[in-house]
Symmetry: C2
């Protein structure tokens, strides 16, 4: 894969750095997830997933239980949170073995890819990415809750295509997603209802 950068087109050092990064992240459009787009024609990729949850942040911001969230910071986290997958691939949430070295590998990837940027933005993105991963601040919790709820909405809308074959149990889904409740009771209640429906329809397994 060659997202080649046009050498000799460079205007200023920081502009050049920004463009190198923006060319590099083209590759996120080719990082595929386990679920499909809703017509079942192909797997969803991490770039369009990131678009969807950034839009969700705007539309659902009223449903954050903590009213002091900074929407711009939440959106920045969501737009960059999966960029590390360019090096690591998308690690399936329910794959225990693959998740063992996830954070370590993704940290290396964050350093490499955000490291292409001018210093100030590099440091901002590294800090936002770490904050998102830790899920401790209100902004990170809300962002992570959106990232956790979108796949459920997609699995339901795409009738379980792509994920059905993994035979996930509803208890696994609940265990992995229950942190949503810390960000939004409404979003968690809704997530539980979707999980119940998906179990009834056979997209995921019981208990």
């Amino acid at each position: 894969m060659s997202a080649s950068f046009p050498e000799g087109l460079l205007m200023s050092n920081n502009f050049e750095k920004a463009l190198r990064f923006l060319n590099e992240v083209e590759k996120l459009k080719m990082v595929y997830r386990q679920n499909m787009v809703v017509d079942g024609s192909r797997y969803e990729n991490s770039a369009e997933h990131s678009w969807h949850i950034a839009l969700m942040a705007i539309v659902l911001s009223d449903f954050s239980d903590n009213k002091n969230i900074d929407l711009l910071r939440v959106i920045k986290m969501l737009l960059i949170h999966d960029i590390v997958e360019i090096d690591t691939g998308d690690i399936f949430l329910y794959d225990v073995a693959a998740n063992q070295n996830k954070l370590e590998n993704e940290s290396e990837s964050a350093k490499r890819i955000f490291g292409l940027l001018p210093e100030e933005i590099r440091d901002e993105f590294l800090a936002l990415w770490n904050e998102f991963e830790k899920r401790e601040t209100p902004d990170a919790l809300f962002a992570a809750a959106l990232d956790g709820m979108q796949p459920l909405m997609n699995h339901y809308a795409s009738q379980g295509k792509g994920i059905e074959r993994h035979n996930i149990k509803s208890s696994q889904v609940i265990s992995k997603k229950k942190y949503i409740e810390q960000a939004s009771k409404t979003m968690w209640e809704y997530s539980l209802e979707i999980i119940k429906k998906m179990e009834a329809l056979g997209y995921i397994k019981s208990a």
Copy 2:
């Protein structure tokens, strides 16, 4: 295509409305553009394109010549600007006939799709979408400049795959994109350099 909404899972009227909209916009992932992702494996879709330019807004905000831009407003415009294409499809910039009723058709689509949202966000999105289309305010000009420059970067990186067959002339590209200069002299200078390189490489035609 059935992005069916789980009836009977509804928590509150505004939450329900927001989710209907968020389910509807899954379809933007299946609106394909004329250019390809950089490995040439498939056409780029409007959802991942929107992700890319929202990220560009953050990374390139220092290069807006007008220093009074509101980054959150710019990002909102970019995340929603192509949603109308769910009804109209992506209209190729250089297709004169197809562009004749573009604004009228897209306005109808904006009313229908943003109309799914709670009133307050519906009105905000309609206003932002109209502002973006008019390209008069600093926020809209900068947002539109990013939307104009990203395809050039992509065409170059993907070696013209997808767009080459249209035999576009460099003069057409310059004419359609020269508004970028109003937002950022640096971005326009860079855009002109890419256009020149693409012409030399045969991705677009001379004059």
